[in-house]
Amino acid sequence: MITKTKITALAATLIAGMMVTSPALSQQGWNEGGGEQDEALHLTPDRENGIEVYEVCAACHLYEGWGQPDGTFPQLAGQHKNVIIKQLADIRALNRDNPTMYPFALPESIGGAQSIADVSAYIATLPMNPEPGVGPGTDLALGEQLYKDNCVRCHGDNGQGIPEKYYPRIQGQHYNYLLRQFEWIRDGKRRNANPDMVKQIQGFSDKDMIAVMDFVSRQKPPADVLGTPGWENPDFE
């Protein structure tokens, strides 16, 4: 009995070890880090400058960081600082295609690594939209099952993500934005996607995709990061 448990544990350790090493290899190009990303990660953020830089972002993402329910501009509020730093650095380094946002990510527009650190830390403190855009609500049981089987390991049991690994918070994000990014990742259009995720979701049909993203958009962020309906950001009065 004991032996059996030990063997199982050993096997689990081995598998876990393999899982840790192989993604590290395949993730090259997904998250090489270095440069500004590393620099920004280690700088101490300045809130006041973060607010000043964020004014540029607010033109599309709104002062509250709540984005648009039609998914054109995602909600940024409450996103992990590391995730924002990585995505901003990626867009600026042309690792993630985004012609609309690109000019705003440039050093001429927002400043250097310190500004990335400042604005990312500021965004992370914004309370989240309690009423994000959600999907049709027709296949939530399927969505929940798919989520449990495919997404929990990286995005957490409730879509909260893992900051240290740059896995984003996806709970309470606008459904239309989630759907578009999922599709782009599945179909290879989002270049800075994690290859493990690309592999993981290859078998998803459009119906699966709609179901799982609908489910995710309806997951509630924890109370301490959630805003109240109609909240207006007092930093921009």
Binding site: P99, T100, Y102, P103, F104
Partner: protein, 231 residues
């Protein structure tokens, strides 16, 4: 005696204070009634690139304050419809695609701004005082500016008006526009990367012109002050 003076000073001050407060609250009420075009300009993401009141555009984007109304309506519609593209920018996409991305909803591919809203935005922008002249980032060659001036008179004046300040309706003001914006647009119209019903008419004029001539035109026009004599 002293008490009386103090009393009257206090009364006068009180009257003045309340008068000025009443005045500023009237001002505040007026301020709150924003032109609907301005409000749309600010909320439909235009301001992000074209700057406060259309006068402080970022990077090499054009300033739009005081631009021709009809011209702007046409261009916004062309960009939304994908009819105005432009050469590739640093992202490898047609220049106007970034703007298209901001104006089209990704969920249903429909414009996020209606025809009526486009009209309101353009009408408001057209009424704004043009941007003040920016001194060139690097000193311009006077010979190039002079050549540009001559070239403009012979090739461009018919549509864009004297010194680029009096275009025919539906054509853009080109005076005082950013130098690099003008230069790139001239190239894009020649290469047909920018090809719209309007630019087709201009193509015939620019097709045989050189980059050097474009540079001269852009140098010259970027330094024509549309606000000269109006201050």
């Amino acid at each position: 005696m002293n008490k009386n003076i103090l009393k009257s000073v206090a009364i006068v001050t009180g009257v003045l204070l309340s008068a000025s407060m009443a005045f500023s609250s009237v001002q505040a009420a007026e301020k709150k009634k924003r032109d609907p075009g301005k409000k749309l300009y600010m909320t439909k993401t235009c301001m992000a690139c074209h700057g406060k009141n259309g006068r402080k555009a970022m990077l090499e984007y054009p300033n739009l304050a005081g631009q021709d109304e009809k011209y702007m309506i046409n261009q916004i519609n062309y960009i939304i419809q994908g009819k105005r593209l432009g050469s590739h920018d640093a992202t490898g996409n047609p220049r106007a695609q970034g703007m298209q991305g901001a104006l089209i909803s990704t969920s249903d591919n429909k414009p996020r701004v209606s025809k009526d809203e486009i009209k309101k935005i353009s009408k408001w922008l057209a009424k704004q005082k043009p941007a003040d002249l920016q001194p060139p980032k690097t000193p311009l060659d006077p010979a190039s500016v002079e050549a540009g001036k001559k070239l403009f008179k012979s090739k461009c004046k018919a549509c864009h008006g004297k010194e680029g300040t009096k275009p025919l309706k539906g054509n853009p003001y080109v005076a005082g526009q950013k130098r690099n914006y003008l230069y790139v647009q001239l190239q894009d119209i020649r290469s047909k990367a920018r090809k719209t019903p309007k630019s087709a008419a201009m193509y015939g004029i620019v097709k045989k012109m050189t980059d050097e001539q474009f540079a001269s035109l852009a140098d010259y026009l970027s330094q024509v002050d549309r606000n000269a004599g109006k201050k």
